[in-house]
Symmetry: C2
Subunit: 224 residues, 2 copies
């Protein structure tokens, strides 16, 4: 691997440098961004009262930051908002890799790890980001929902976390077997796994018929 | 909630007791087991050099324990094998919940959190568990692959982690909107998300034609 760091690459530290299987590692911002952008949730790790905690939560990226949000009473958001260290993990499982040996059997995945400290976002930027969260999940939705109230904004926290100390790890393609195992009469290959969107289920409590909006139909027909 | 603890329930501590939205919490072993059994991977949180780390890895349950495995040089496995505290998170994303307000828009999910300390498994139990890992992902596969070598077993670690300090959190069904928002002409409902298995992709390096085994076809036609 080159010793220099390209402008679009991430600086390496002892935490974000991958020791195991370094050939699968990437420090390229575009790779890291695309893995984050494909994700709905991440897992946030932090330390409280000397214990490790891991919390799944929605994630959104804008530029060189990711954003988390939720009820301001959440232990995780309070902790990150106080500037404590966190590790954020984004993982996609893309397939089961059936090698000719159990040892080389594995999973195809794309993952990102981020380390560092976040900060609370306030004011108009917070309001805009909460709107962007709705829009990021389903484009077109933000303009359709009932506007936020000041109280809803008040009791919600938004955390900004820089994509700085970061790394991606990607495993794709067929199994890598021991050379002599290729002669064995064992089926080998990959079973792809993908997240599919089912047909929208209208809320049974809708009081009058409302057509499924065009932006939802667009969302259904588009795939990551 | 009842103050007593049923035999099949998990004892509560400050770590595994859910403060936010307690109505979605479950301490029932059957609920916790089924969420773990539906999972291929989990996210493992631990603390090393005062930093939180989160690592995605395959998970398998047997009885009242979960098992992790991998290369024995892995920082995560070395850390857990030394008896350090860990938090293990299992998460399924089941749908996007489109409420009439952004505030009540959310995600349907099933998640489990486990806290505690694991231990390394050695000897014949370790060998059996490594076999079980192959079998747990695709039933029938373990009998088909090339047997493990002593060296493969040596350089792999298996961690046993008790399902003891645990909780589940489940969110299902349609959105819960503010009462007056039900009068608004806004489409509301759920877009289900599910993990689908694609057609098996044979390894292009197979040296002679091998039919897709029956157990893989069974796996393709069965769903969680």
């Amino acid at each position: 691997m080159p010793y220099y760091v390209r402008m679009k690459s991430i600086t390496r530290t002892s935490r974000n440098t991958l020791n195991r299987l370094p050939a699968r590692a990437s420090y390229d911002r575009e790779v890291i961004h695309s893995i984050i952008d494909d994700a709905i949730i991440c897992h946030v790790g932090f330390v409280a009262d000397d214990s490790p905690f891991v919390i799944p939560t929605a994630i959104m990226r804008q530029g060189e930051n990711i954003y988390l949000h939720g009820n301001s009473q959440s232990r995780m958001l309070q902790h990150l908002g106080s500037g404590h260290e966190a590790c954020i993990s984004v993982t996609h499982i893309d397939g089961m890799v059936l090698a000719r040996s159990g040892f080389h059997s594995s999973i195809n995945y794309r993952s990102v790890s981020l380390f560092g400290r976040g900060n609370l976002v306030e004011g108009t930027q917070k309001k805009q980001l909460l709107n962007d969260f709705v829009e990021s999940l389903i484009p077109g939705r933000a303009a359709d929902v009932r506007p936020m109230t000041p109280n809803e904004i008040n009791i919600t926290s938004v955390i900004e976390f820089p994509i700085k100390e970061a790394s991606a790890k990607v495993s794709v393609g067929p199994p890598s077997d021991d050379k002599k195992d290729y002669d064995l009469p064992i089926w080998a290959g990959v079973i792809p796994l993908e997240t599919n969107r089912g047909d929208p289920i209208p809320d049974p409590q809708m009081k009058f018929p409302i057509d499924t909006p065009a932006y939802i139909l667009n969302y259904m027909s588009s795939r990551n």
